[in-house]
């Protein structure tokens, strides 16, 4: 049972997956409540383009991908402000175009196909100490942004149209949040890969949402669940010999299915209890009559 802990690469992988699982869930809480799941999915693809271009020109992956992500967010925001385009269409156009740039660059230089398979599907077991430090630094920064912008973010998420009336700089807060989202995707790229990031952003918060009606509790449950499933996914992948990123998402999906099933059983129980109470009340009425 303790075998995975004996290897340095597994230790790094489990630490990275725990941290990334927690932070993607934390950012994901605002993503799902603001119905931005599509932007998370799109940004992951867009940042893939940035990663490819950075690699090709020999630029630092984290900085290059982050700048690319930030630029994509800026373009999405600008395009979405035009009435004729709309937010979802802007995300679709810009992130797909950025992804296509990455594919085009790969097709011109086939020599690093393997590295970009890692970007697409994640390669958590290849994480070095330096990667871990950089990822941890990014996560601390993202957590700090969420901490400082908590109140305005909650207000905007709940009642967007009125936030400005209460003195909240909505555009500024949204821009900073979008950058934090882009940074989250970059931090998660090596752990989960482009194709799986959206799941990690969405599943833990959705599961938490099904469990509670309190926002602080929802946030806490989502972060703990994200971190725990991140750790468990990598740990289990050692024994089942399946890709670590995929295992993390499958563990999260299993938790989602279990929670959904439990919810259905609970609501049926509640329904039948209500019916029983109704029947008893009816019986009591007829006895009294």
């Amino acid at each position: 049972m303790l075998e995975p802990f004996e290897f340095g690469f597994m230790q790094r992988a489990m630490i990275a997956a725990t941290l990334v699982g927690g932070v993607t869930a934390a950012v994901g809480v605002f993503v799902i409540l603001r119905r931005l799941a599509y932007i998370g999915h799109g940004l992951a693809h867009s940042i893939f383009g940035g990663a490819v271009v950075s690699f090709t020109i020999g630029f630092n992956f984290f900085i290059g991908a982050s700048l690319w992500g930030a630029f994509s967010v800026f373009l999405i925001n600008q395009a979405a402000r035009r009435r004729q385009i709309g937010g979802d269409a802007a995300i679709g156009i810009i992130t797909t175009a950025a992804f296509a740039i990455g594919i085009a660059v790969i097709s011109r230089a086939r020599s690093f196909t393997r590295d970009f398979e890692a970007a697409l599907f994640g390669e958590i077991l290849g994480i070095t100490n330096q990667d871990l430090y950089v990822t941890t630094g990014m996560i601390v920064l993202i957590a700090l942004v969420l901490f400082l912008l908590w109140k305005p973010l909650v207000f905007i998420t709940f009642d967007h149209d009125v936030a400005t009336s209460y003195g909240i700089p909505v555009r500024w807060v949204e821009a900073v949040f979008s950058l934090a989202l882009a940074a989250t995707v970059v931090a998660a790229l090596q752990v989960l890969g482009v194709t799986l990031i959206a799941a990690a952003l969405v599943i833990p918060p959705v599961v938490a949402r099904m469990m509670t009606d309190s926002f602080p509790r929802l946030f806490l449950i989502a972060v703990v669940l994200g971190a725990l499933t991140g750790f468990l996914g990598v740990y289990i992948s050692w024994f089942v010999d399946v890709s670590s990123g995929a295992t993390v998402v499958l563990v999260q999906a299993a938790v989602f299915v279990l929670t959904l099933g439990w919810g259905v059983i609970e609501s049926r129980r509640g329904l039948s209890a209500a019916r029983r109470a109704e029947r008893l009340a009816g019986l009591e009425r007829s006895l009294n009559d």
Binding site: V154, F155, T157, D159, D213, F215, L218
Partner: protein
């Protein structure tokens, strides 16, 4: 932006305003003094919300001078339709959103903030609902929760967009009673309403909008007049009085002479400016 003279809270002089370069209202001349209770009336799409939001500084001003007195604390209660009802938040948490500027860089609220929220919720009679999710409340309770969010800032000027929309008669009465109490306590209240009979006719001052401008401004007996209402709503209106109550009714579109009997018995009410009576 011009300054507001002492003794005035809001001054709009010859203002044209709107959004995205499109003028919604023009030639608006409105002055509001501290302690007033005002209703903005008019048909859907006439610019009621735009005029209200201009007092928040959220519209574009294309002409004239629009100003609110310095250091005026403004509370805003929107139409409840703007809210995301799927958001998991309790009544107390909604109320405390209004004081987000207090210790703004910290995610948690202080004991003082919580006790202030409880006081406001008690004033509005919903303290026992503090821990309930907002989406589980009735329309009137939700409206009072948003009122609490505005009141937690101790506003000088309270703006409400359709505060009685979608609530029953009893709740409407309670909300109006609470607004009147706040007004007596010194808060200037400006609200929009489409309810001429249940709300507008009970307010001391009305501003009627129509034809992209202010058609009338004054007490209900001056504003609720058939010619003004016909211009605002684009159809003939009947205004009847029963004691201190004023009722506005649309004149049914029928063949002339179809109704020989008056709609309301004449011994009960005074009919003001009934269109067919003028023709006779």
């Amino acid at each position: 932006m011009a300054s507001v003279p002492i003794g005035e809270l809001v001054r709009l002089d010859g203002v044209a305003l709107g959004y995205d370069g499109e003028v919604a209202l023009r030639d608006v001349n409105v002055r509001i003094s501290p302690g007033e209770l005002i209703g903005i009336v008019g048909p859907s799409g006439c610019g009621k919300t735009t005029l209200l939001r201009s007092l928040l500084g959220e519209t574009e001003v294309y002409a004239g001078d629009a100003s609110v007195a310095d250091n005026t604390k403004v509370g805003y209660v929107p139409q409840v339709e703007t809210v995301d009802w799927n958001f998991p938040i309790t009544v107390e948490q909604v109320a405390m959103l209004g004081s987000w500027r207090t210790r703004r860089w910290l995610p948690w609220t202080s004991r003082d903030e919580r006790s202030r929220a409880r006081v406001v919720l008690s004033q509005l009679g919903i303290a026992d609902l503090a821990d309930r999710p907002i989406r589980a409340l009735s329309g009137g309770q939700q409206q009072r929760t948003f009122l609490a969010r505005a009141l937690i800032r101790s506003p000088d000027l309270l703006l409400l967009d359709e505060p009685t929309s979608g609530v029953d008669i009893k709740t409407r009465h309670e909300i109006l009673h609470q607004l009147a109490a706040l007004n007596h306590a010194g808060v200037t209240v400006v609200l929009t309403t489409h309810d001429l009979n249940g709300v507008a006719s009970h307010l001391p001052r009305l501003i009627a909008l129509g034809e992209q401008t202010v058609l009338a401004d004054g007490p209900p007996e001056e504003v609720l007049q058939p010619p003004i209402l016909e211009r605002a709503y684009g159809q003939p209106m009947l205004v009847v009085q029963s004691g201190h109550e004023t009722y506005v009714l649309p004149v049914p579109e029928e063949a002339p002479g179809a109704h020989e009997e008056p709609l309301v018995p004449p011994h009960v009410v005074n009919v003001i400016g009934r269109p067919d009576a003028d023709d006779a």
